[in-house]
């Protein structure tokens, strides 16, 4: 069970590398430039949804980037939600 914090644009190699390592039971938190992958009906959100991971987006970062139409499969969380995820997941992998 790994918490992937994905702070990289969907066009980046970090994004592609992250996708390859996501396993069932993992969670992905989109933050920074990663929030663009939360936009509904995009190729990036579709490939993320096709993984078995639970998807989250950091609400403040999405708001800063103007990402409003978040995919229904992605839960918006605040910083307390982020801390709560790290309480649940013993390991974190940062992608950037």
């Amino acid at each position: 069970m790994i918490l992937h914090t994905l702070n990289a644009a969907p066009s980046s190699s970090a994004f592609a590398d992250c996708l390859k390592t996501i396993a069932e039971g993992d969670a992905v938190l989109l933050m920074g430039d990663g929030v663009y992958a939360a936009i509904a009906q995009t190729e990036a959100s579709r490939v993320l949804e096709a993984t078995k991971a639970t998807l989250y987006v950091l609400a403040d970062d999405a708001m800063t980037a103007g990402v409003l139409n978040v995919s229904a499969a992605v839960s918006s969380i605040d910083i307390a939600g982020f801390v709560a995820l790290t309480e649940t997941f013993p390991r974190q992998q940062a992608w950037y």
Partner: protein
């Protein structure tokens, strides 16, 4: 739980350094301990004492310094990265013939061993990069 953080992000590019400081504040508010924050690469710029931001802008430096003041969070700066980025405490300023310190006193010069120690002595090590 005991947390330590690794900060690789520059405070002048994106919000990641500020997000990390908010994470530390929130973890403490939830009853956790933040043992050490280790700054590496461009993350060391968070200690820039002479950086001036717009009046209506919260700086990452303020956020980190408050964590050190109020919650005794150790702010450890990788000395190799710091010197490359022009961050000197008084000792390094004297040694490198720089006329003044450029690093806020809330931060302490440190080595990678302190990062390994933070990993070994914490329940969680959370990395902030990008």
């Amino acid at each position: 739980m005991i947390y330590s953080l690794l900060i690789l992000s520059s405070p002048f590019s994106g919000d990641c350094s500020r997000t990390a400081a908010a994470f530390a504040r929130c973890a403490i508010a939830r009853g956790h301990t933040v043992h050490r924050v280790f700054f590496l690469d461009t993350g060391t710029l968070a200690s820039a004492a002479n950086s001036v931001s717009a009046q209506d802008e919260d700086t990452a430096l303020q956020s980190w310094a408050e964590l050190a003041d109020l919650h005794s969070v150790e702010l450890a700066i990788c000395i190799t990265s710091a010197l490359k980025h022009g961050m000197f405490d008084q000792t390094e300023a004297d040694r490198n013939k720089c006329p003044f310190s450029t690093m806020d006193p809330a931060f302490t010069m440190s080595g990678l061993g302190q990062l390994v120690d933070a990993y070994a002595s914490s329940d969680r090590l959370i990395t902030f990069g990008g």
